[in-house]
């Protein structure tokens, strides 16, 4: 999987590259708008991370140009302005996702992963991690032989974590998918819910499945994986 990062700020481009490489992506970086515009014509990419403010040519006009010539590569827009208008403008221009600066790397990686996975995902109705299983149709959650009662919100949280099993989930991504929030509230809402969920699915069981990665986010994974 090859990802193109078009970002003029060198340090930002550099840590994005490192993070994506750590996830197993091959990454090309480009610091200029005009260069970025033509880059996908010579190399096929699976996804593109595109900054809006660029020297030479701005990200939105690059994106519009690509979509005009029917280039459908998934694009994640990055913006320092980060307001609703720009988000709408970006999605209208043909972006697949949008992230405002400053962002958490874990969010960026999760979004790129979602973009490159799109389309080829076989959707099973029963999600399993070790002996924990969640039926998305009957909404029944079981660990081993025991049924677990969850509130609607806890269920959605667990469903999201199980869909991304084995991968780190940032708080912002969780807020967006589980709560439908497009802002970061100054609260510990996610931590409190994760703690409750852990109490229900992990406390009385071994091995533990739901882990906190300090400073980054949460991950639900089977032991030794």
């Amino acid at each position: 999987m090859r990802v193109l990062v078009i970002e003029d700020e060198k340090k930002t481009a550099s840590f994005i590259r490192k993070a994506l490489q750590a996830e197993g992506y091959a990454v090309d970086v480009c610091h200029d708008g005009n260069e970025g515009l033509v880059a996908p014509t010579t190399t096929p990419y699976d996804a593109i991370v595109l900054d809006i403010m660029l020297p030479g040519r701005d990200g939105l006009s690059i994106l519009r140009r690509w979509r005009q010539i029917h280039n459908r590569i998934p694009v994640l827009l990055l913006s320092a302005r980060g307001d609703v208008i720009e988000r709408v403008e970006g999605l209208d221009a043909g972006a697949d996702d949008y992230l405002s600066k400053p962002f958490a790397l874990v969010e960026l990686v999760a979004r790129v992963r979602a973009l490159t996975r799109r389309g080829g995902d076989s959707k099973s109705t029963v999600l399993r991690v070790a002996d924990l299983c969640l039926d998305t149709i009957t909404r029944v959650v079981r660990r081993g032989e025991l049924d677990i009662e969850l509130t609607a919100r806890e269920y959605r949280l667990l469903e999201f974590l199980m869909q991304s099993a084995g991968r780190l989930c940032g708080r912002m991504m969780i807020l967006e998918k589980v709560w439908d929030y497009d802002f970061d509230p100054c609260t510990n809402l996610v931590d409190v819910y994760v703690k409750r969920l852990r109490g229900k699915i992990d406390a009385a069981f071994e091995p533990k499945l739901l882990h906190t990665v300090r400073g980054i986010g949460y991950v639900l994974r089977p032991p030794h994986a």
Binding site: A22, D83, V84, P102, F103, Y193, G215
Partner: protein, 352 residues
């Protein structure tokens, strides 16, 4: 024409009228006497009669005329006073009404307009400064957050190092939240944010937020009750209303006391939805109450040092409410109960 010239002209008119009146009466009296060839007698009575019949009406006319004159002259002052009274930081770009007749008051209005224009200019500069400052901070913050997170991903870190870096990242994220909040408010000030308005079931949002509040409050041992929740449809930006509700709920939890309680209610009429959130706690003293919506305002430093937050929550809440053409107010009885009331215009409601 200046007011001085106008007043002089009008008053000479009134005086002329009075003089004419006296002249006519005198002429009338004199010609009557000449006809009857009456010799003057009973001097006092004559004088009294002349004063009563000629002098008094002339005096009354002068008084009435003067009163009318002053009222007419001062009317523009009253208009101008009303106009100046309504000037605030929100409508500095509006000009005071002018008559363009170049009199003193028109000149005063012109000077006042020039002054508000200068003030408006300064305000805009401060707004622009905040907007640019918060914007400029984003690039270095992005780099710092990104690099710190990259460091944290290093598997070979020992727990102490990991904790140190994670705690640094926490503070950086807090800074990012503050910068984002500032950007939002600066943009709102400059009128750069458009809301995504659509009919929204406010009661459903309140129910949702009630659930979250219960969970948030549980950790602090607080009880939360939903007293009333009328079915209400408002024209609103659902994301911003969620933000508002969470913001207020979070405050009610943070500024509470052990074993305290929170009461949430939504009561709607045909026109207004009234959302109230009451919480027990130390409360807010009267002198602090008027400033709680100010940016970065912290009422009691001793109390707030243990409460985390970005210091912009209520400012953002106030902006969200006013952007929806509503109002927000806080009442507090220290050490008893603090009530936040939000009123929003309603599209449709149904009492339950």
């Amino acid at each position: 024409m200046t007011i001085r010239a106008r007043m002089t002209l009008w008053y000479s008119g009134v005086l002329l009228l009075s003089t004419l009146m006296i002249g006519i009466f005198c002429f009338d009296e004199l010609s009557e006497r000449r006809e009857r060839l009456v010799k003057p007698s009973k001097g006092m009575e004559e004088i009294l009669a002349i004063v009563l019949w000629i002098g008094l009406p002339a005096i009354l006319l002068s008084i009435g005329g003067g009163w009318w004159l002053m009222r007419k002259a001062l009317a523009p002052v009253a208009t101008l006073t009303e106009a100046v009274r309504s000037v605030s930081d929100r409508n500095l770009n509006q000009q005071l009404p002018r008559t363009y007749n170049r009199d003193e008051l028109d000149q005063l209005a012109e000077v006042l307009n020039a002054m508000t224009a200068r003030l408006n200019d300064s305000f805009t500069r401060i707004q622009d400064f905040t907007l640019h400052a918060s914007h400029e901070l984003k690039t270095p913050l992005t780099v710092l957050c990104g690099e710190t997170e990259t460091e944290l991903r290093d598997e070979s870190l020992n727990p102490a190092e990991r904790e140190r870096i994670a705690s640094r990242l926490d503070e950086l994220r807090r800074m990012a939240l503050i910068v984002n909040g500032l950007t939002l408010l600066a943009k709102a000030d400059a009128g750069l944010i458009t809301l995504n308005l659509a009919p929204v079931r406010l009661d459903e949002l309140v129910q949702d937020s009630f659930g979250d509040t219960q969970i948030l409050a549980e950790a602090s041992g607080l009880s939360v009750t939903l007293q009333k929740c009328d079915r209400t449809i408002v024209k609103a930006d659902a994301h911003r209303l969620r933000q508002l509700l969470l913001n207020l709920a979070d405050n009610a939890v943070k500024y509470n006391q052990p074993g305290g309680s929170i009461q949430i209610g939504l009561a709607s009429t045909d026109r207004t939805a009234e959302l109230t959130i009451c919480n027990t706690g130390p409360g807010i003293t009267a002198n602090v109450l008027s400033r709680v919506f100010d940016r970065f305002f912290r009422g009691d430093p001793a109390h707030n040092s243990r409460v985390e937050g970005c210091g912009l929550g209520l400012s953002i809440a106030q902006w969200i409410v006013s952007a929806h053409k509503g109002s927000i107010s806080i009442e507090s009885v220290p050490d008893q109960v603090t009530t936040v009331t939000v009123r929003l215009p309603v599209l449709e409601s149904q009492r339950v």
